[in-house]
Amino acid sequence: MVTVTINVNGEKRTASVPPETTLLRLLRDDFNLTGSKLGCDVGDCGACTVIVDGKAVNSCLMLAAQADGRDVLTIEGLATMDRLHPIQKAFEKYASLQCGFCGPGVIMSAKALLDENPDPTVQEIRDALGGNLCRCTGYVKMIEAIQDAARILRDEPVEINR
């Protein structure tokens, strides 16, 4: 067993887990953060995307122990009690999701993209989210929502105090 302490959504949390435990399983099974989804569990679908120290990662491909001492942001940390993040709002407004299972991963990838590049072109969005698969939608409304959220965030940036 290894002891892992991560700063998840601004809260320091510790768990003792078998060494093969992935960050995704740690978040879901030990911390009950089921917003990050397990789809393929081998890094192909992107449904498990979270942000570790500012970078979008497939949490199913990162060992929990590798995240020790680092900052992890999940979908649960994006909204406050009474307010969705502008990306989430845009996804709601554009009805970008259907079954919704890929949604948290897509939104976290979009967040990481917009943190680095506040005004991405459509091609840059497609490149950045090429690893976030969706079986339902056809993606177009996701791209529009990300563009819309980018506009809003450029006017009024949102600080997440994590």
């Binding site: 089921t34 789809g39 081998v42 649960e76 009805a95 919704g100 459509v122 079986r135 339902c136 996701m142």
Partner: protein
Amino acid sequence: MTIPARFTEPADTTVEAPPKAKRKAAVRREVGRSIPRLESHAKVDGSAEYIYHLRLPGMLQGKICRSTVPHGRIVRIDASAALAIEGVHAVITGEDIRTLIPDPYYGPAFHDQPILAIGKVRYVGEPVAVVLAADLHVAEEAADQVVVEYEPLEPVFDEVAATKPGAPIIHDSLRPAGMFPDLQYLKGRSGTNVALDARVLHGDVEKGFAEADQVFENVFRSRKVVHATFEPTVSLAELNGSNGLTIHTSSQSPSYVRAEVSRLLGWPENRVRVRTAFLGGSFGAKLYIKLEALVAACALLVRKPVRIGLTMEEEFYTITKHGATVRIKTGMAKDGRIVAREVETWWNGGAYADIGPRVSQKSGFTAAGPYDIENVSLINYAVYTNDPPAGALRGFGISQIVWAYECQNDIIARSLGIDPLEFRRRNILHDGRPHATGTIMTNAEIDEVLDRLSDRMHWDVLFDHGSGPVRRGRGLAIGFKACIAPTTSVAVVNVYGDGSCCVSCSTVDMGQGSDTAMAQIAAETLGISTETVRVIHPDTDVTPYDMATLGSRSTYHMGNAVRLAAEDARAQLLRIAAATLQTDIEELEYRDGAVISRSGARMTMRGLMLARFGMQAGTVIGMGTFTPPYTKPDPRTGQSPQITPYWMLAGAAAEIEVDTETGRIRVTKLVNVGDVGCAINPAIAKRQLNGAGTMQLGFTLFEEMRFNEGQVINASLADYKIPGMLDVPEDLSAELVEFPHEHGPFGAKGVGETGMFSVSPAIANALCDAIGVRIMELPLTPERVLRAIRESENRPLESE
């Protein structure tokens, strides 16, 4: 590169003009609004409920040990090494299941599939044993330690070869399930791999060919593909008191699961409770029995809650789309009219029938296309092979059939020198004319679909095919489907003491937006706002029977049941008010939680409850049941005056670029047009068309399960690519054709599958338009395209 503005849809609050209704022309407030899904907040903040998240106190996790041979007898199963691993609670085999369920075979068409293999395995990946442990990792490790020895039998994989004399027989005998009324004609059989041969005979096809000026004959094939839903298939079972069982499952058919698990256990249905939540995609993968019977049996054997969730790899070994071989022969008159068509289709159903016979028969009877043809013969064989089982995948076989007739129609049109659009116009099956089954076409807007395609593609404008290594082409195709019949939906609408309302129904929201559509229908009927309606998710202890969420049937069937239930509740409220106000019901209207009379009198919900219950609390329950009429087809000729409640018409058109040096196709424009009757929620309906179009784009360009002796060699999303953001055409659009169906709820028909039908032939026809090369087999991979190009240039590539 930009996304064109034409994709934008009406703002979310727009009230679209009501379509040309044949009913009373009330102004609609709720139906026709493009409101966001009711659950959209929960889906963007990560809190939406999926069964995959569920953990039960004290539960065991199961890992399935699967067959490694495609066809063989089980000589022995040795679980001793697995049981020796610390933390393993039990290893369950087919013989263990038999101690609980003496006849553990299930299936919606035939009782052919054992809960765990008994005596024999019929495909690589068939469940043979289950290891149960509190820790999933322990169960996974132990599953690898279960030793199974097989005596191999000769396998057969090809659907045509499996029907030939001397082919290995996969099932010794077949027992029809007798559950669904549309499958009552299935017969017990033995000594054959053909589970069903379904025929439609119309006119005299031999005479038609004899009189034809020209006859065309081609064979088209589709390979097996997979649903690849993102929420893995998952089921949990727990004991419920001393004699009951609760199954939590990612299922599209909770009512069926209750009935089938009860039948297996020999229990009354009221002892089995089945509940679902949102499904993370489904597309037909999560129908009938998948893991439910297995977790139920395990939970009863070990007297603990049991959960089994599949990995993405296991999904490839659970259910697939049918591969199909379609031989299509068409007789033409000089004037470009089709005079005879004969279609023979072999459906590769894999090792267990699942719903294959329905796929074969239902898609099969549309195999001549939406065309007016005097002489038709259609034969469909549902065939067992040693592949993983095939079932429903968004269209029940329609796209395999449309692939054949729409590719061939282009071949014929080009050969006769007729524009492909004009060729279709000349042969359309118009309303009022008999389809090959004898059913008269009604409410089928195929002309309008063609007109919209033509407009969107600027079909009459000369098209630039390019020069140099990258060539351009455009193509179109149309297709249709008959909605399944006969089926029933039942709904309950509950109006509470404060006027708020819940809809109870067993329709499963798997991403298609059914919760929102049902809420809109209830809200429209009750004169309240959609956002205030809550839809209760399927729980067979609470929600009434529904056949299943499949085949684009829910909006029409459950929509009608919800409308009837809401009308019933409204009528009860009006009766209460009429008695109290001593006025005629006709004088009254229910709206926004109050009854208002023409004379201006008003009764609030408080008053209605006081009048009915003597206090301010209570419930008014409305019920609605909907079963559309249906006439069983003649088993010999397939003739029926009423084969379906409605037809779904679809068209797609594509512009593509093809790199003649690499064979790679890039779809630059994809238009999908669907005849939806009336859209309950236009934005959601369009997203269904675009989502389906994108899925079929994957099936057209690159998705293909690859096998080696029955083993899937690309069973992961790394090796089996589905469309990503980079694959979506720059110009992807959808258009709704809205003429209200006379019996649909507010004129609506189904739409979930419509966008799948025509995409593949539209792209293949565009390929032929670009470079004159015709490919008869899906998918159109760069390799297949390049081989065809080199073949046409008489300098073929070396074979593999």
